[in-house]
């Protein structure tokens, strides 16, 4: 009886690790398959944060976005026209206030239209300045 127990104590008590690498590789395969590499597309907009000014700067490009039409400097334009006209202004070569595009959206406008106009202004090299209505819930 004592001889048996001694044998047990001295016997090999190794943890079986042979399958560990298989498990690890299975985990790696799982992670590789479950991973979605996100390619985020968009644009950067750093809105100038400022208070209401009494006197708007002269000769500023203005885009007024209605739910059914877009007005660029008092001319009604559609989306492709807006892109062309904004690019023609060569805002990317200008500096300071000349780069600023005042964007106004009276009434209810969906984010889709708003986003398209913002993207067009950014693509043309302009700096967006949002004109908000009085009591706009800031």
């Amino acid at each position: 009886m004592p001889a048996r127990s001694r044998r047990r104590r001295t016997g090999c008590d190794d943890i079986p690790v042979a399958s560990f690498s298989d498990i690890a590789f299975l985990l790696i395969i799982f992670f590789i398959l479950a991973t979605t590499l996100v390619k985020t597309q968009g644009f950067y907009t750093d809105f100038p944060s400022g208070e209401k000014s009494e006197k708007p700067p002269e000769k500023t490009t203005t885009v007024v976005l209605h739910s059914d039409k877009i007005v660029l400097n008092d001319d009604e334009v559609d989306m492709p026209n807006l892109r062309t006209k904004l690019k023609a202004l060569k805002l990317d070569r200008k500096t300071g206030d000349a780069k600023v595009v005042m964007m106004e959206a009276p009434g209810k406008v969906e984010y889709q239209r708003y986003f398209e106009v913002m993207a067009a202004i950014t693509e043309a090299g302009g700096t967006i300045c949002i004109v908000r209505e009085e009591g706009g819930g800031r």
Binding site: G42, R83, E123, R132
Partner: protein, 144 residues
């Protein structure tokens, strides 16, 4: 002599080539640890947002700060629902306290394309007031 050599050659041919696989487990675990450390789990997962489309989009860097607005106008900051735009400003300002680089100030703004201006504009304004630079996210579309 010749017989001996032949025997030796035969023995050599029969001997198995053993690939050392003992370290494979260690390599595999190191790879797992690497993937786990390098992974950025999407905080905005599960928030149903149909992004707007525009052809004027470029690839932007993925950032860790995310503000989302779903189709019902619910506002989320880092995947958690918050009640109003003012709270966005507070949260963004708090999070960007430690931001040292310009990239760290980028805030990903995901908004559903059908959301009305009254809802998303105060949120965008709040991000700016909180010190963040808005990275507006959308899907690239063909020219409209």
């Amino acid at each position: 002599m010749k017989k001996e050599r032949r025997k030796q050659r035969r023995r050599r041919r029969r001997s198995k080539i053993v690939v050392p696989v003992a370290s494979m487990g260690d390599i595999a675990f190191l790879l797992i640890i690497f993937f786990m450390i390098c992974s950025n789990f999407a905080k905005e997962a599960g928030i149903p947002v149909e992004p707007p489309r525009s052809p004027d989009l470029d690839r932007v860097k993925q950032t860790t700060t995310v503000v989302s607005v779903d189709a019902d106008g619910q506002i989320y900051f880092q995947g958690h629902r918050i009640h109003n735009a003012k709270a966005v400003e507070t949260e963004v300002a708090e999070l960007l306290k430690t931001a040292t680089t310009a990239d760290a100030r980028n805030v990903l703004f995901r908004c559903d394309r059908k959301v009305a201006k009254d809802i998303f504009e105060p949120v965008m304004d709040a991000i700016t007031r909180g010190g963040g630079t808005i990275v507006a996210v959308g899907d690239k579309a063909g020219g409209t």
